[in-house]
Symmetry: C2
Subunit: 308 residues, 2 copies
């Protein structure tokens, strides 16, 4: 059995490769929910949905978010009532949020609703939110404001300089049912190529999860989301730097070293392998640019073999 | 000032005429909310929306419900999660329900949300729900089941024979703010051509409203929704008969006589005027088939003049 810690799009692409490399039923993905947000009263789980839609082959790959062939009739109509709508919600995507919100209001935990949605999309793997509790990333920016993740990332295009990041609710959160047992039972734990600060960071902030990884350090392998000194996608550079993490595979290694024995770095960073290893993290060089599911599957095989 | 008791489409067409006949700002419409239903966790107010969309010129007149140019992408996508979705909710229509639901969950009373929605559509008249409380029409049918209005009307196409009708929650409901004062202050109270049993009936079942009409009986005029022994639209015949109300303008007169001095009947029913008047209700003959807003405006003028 394999366990994967996952954020959004990068993780989704890696997981699409992973379930080509191993039987999907053997994979448990533990997904960040600290980016979850309520829009128009609807509970949106961006990372869970990115993973679900990508694995179902339904995501809009050109756009990088949302569903293929999406329309925005409802959102356009909502602007009549709420003019300053800045978060894009497609009509098909809305259906997921409407369903999730109804089930949560009925009292179903997020983990149960997530399993229902995964089943509806015929995902072969197990998808778990990191917690059923509300944990929310808060980003303090230079002008003194504290922003929700989507406010900073989407509304303000990651522009305000970051002072600090916190995960509201994390201290009192509990891992979702199945999370700790999966981490304990897994042959291998993969940290997907996701934002270390705001995708993997919140998962590790849920009490018990980081300890579980530390206890399995020799079986934990990460894929660096930083290639050639820049994130493959997303705003990781805008978050790592201000928090004192070098924007490089070496910075990722330094950050993950306490609980991760092995880091897969891209071929373009091969020259930095010695620096990674100096941190006590084994460096494995591979092609990490997942331009196709086949490349992602090869990357997954390489990562698994590295800690086999 | 004029007050109108209103159900759905028939009332909406009449109101569209009424606000051509008098300044819209002088009109307060009190709308049935006993057909309200929760679909997918969203609060749907069919009669309020029919009135709003019709008065805004945005309704799908060919179809008889919903918005013009509507699409159904979200509902199609929802079927992935909830296969037995039988209530049609268009994408643009969903925006109204999403907004209303959010505001209600925030604690806003339905009357406040209704005013917000009316303002967003630039309706000139005042739209009031009959009550801010939950009143729900329950229809007992011959096989012993008790159905919600939309279950009977939409899901089961008005087919199950009706035994009885009740309005759950009515006894403890309070008229929405502004309802009783409008009924007391109005020069004329118009009962729109709506289903007497399940559109006007629930409004009258809210304690205080029927008394307010009785106290103003000489100024209350109704338009018969039954023309030539059949409803112009909708299932009134399937409800009036089993409840002992003749499916005719005479049956409407008998039902409204305690609180209504004047009934506008269609020209095709002119021969029954004497029967109406024998019930103590003045009969006024007019063209009640509102094939255009101009005809509706003429009908409104005729009704107002009848009790002037």
């Amino acid at each position: 059995m394999l366990c994967a810690l996952a954020g959004g799009v990068g993780a989704a692409r890696f997981l699409a490769g992973l379930i080509r490399a191993v039987p999907p039923a053997d994979v448990v993905a533990i997904v960040n929910t600290a980016d979850d947000e309520t829009f128009h009263g609807l509970h949106v789980s961006p990372d869970l949905d990115s993973v679900t839609y990508t694995l179902a082959g339904a995501s809009n790959t050109a756009q990088g978010w949302g569903l293929e062939g999406e329309t925005f009739a409802a959102l356009s109509a909502l602007r009549r009532y709420e003019p300053d709508t800045w978060f894009q919600l497609g009509d098909k995507d809305l259906a997921t949020h409407i369903y999730r919100t109804r089930r949560l209001r009925e009292g179903a935990p997020l983990s149960v609703v997530t399993a229902e949605i995964a089943a509806a999309w015929d995902l072969g793997l197990t998808l778990l939110p990191m917690t059923d509790d509300a944990v929310r990333t808060r980003i303090s920016v230079e002008d003194g404001r504290e922003l929700a993740m989507q406010e900073w990332f989407v509304r303000e295009r990651s522009e305000p300089a970051v002072r600090s990041v916190s995960f509201a609710g994390a201290a009192s959160a509990t891992p979702a049912p199945g999370v700790l047992s999966a981490l304990r039972a897994a042959d291998t734990i993969v940290i997907c190529p996701s934002n270390p600060v705001i995708s993997i960071g919140p998962i590790l902030a849920v009490p018990g999860i980081r300890d579980a990884l530390e206890a399995r350090r020799s079986r934990v392998v990460a894929i660096s989301p930083i290639v050639g000194g820049a994130p493959v996608k997303g705003p990781a550079d805008r978050l790592m730097g201000p928090l004192g993490i070098e924007v490089s595979c070496v910075g990722v290694a330094a950050s993950y070293a306490p609980f991760c024995s092995t880091l897969v770095i891209d071929a373009v960073d091969a020259a930095r392998a010695a620096e990674v290893e100096a941190l006590g993290v084994r460096a494995v060089v591979a092609d990490t640019m997942m331009l196709s599911p086949d490349i992602a599957a090869a990357l997954a095989r390489r990562a698994l073999a590295a800690v086999a």
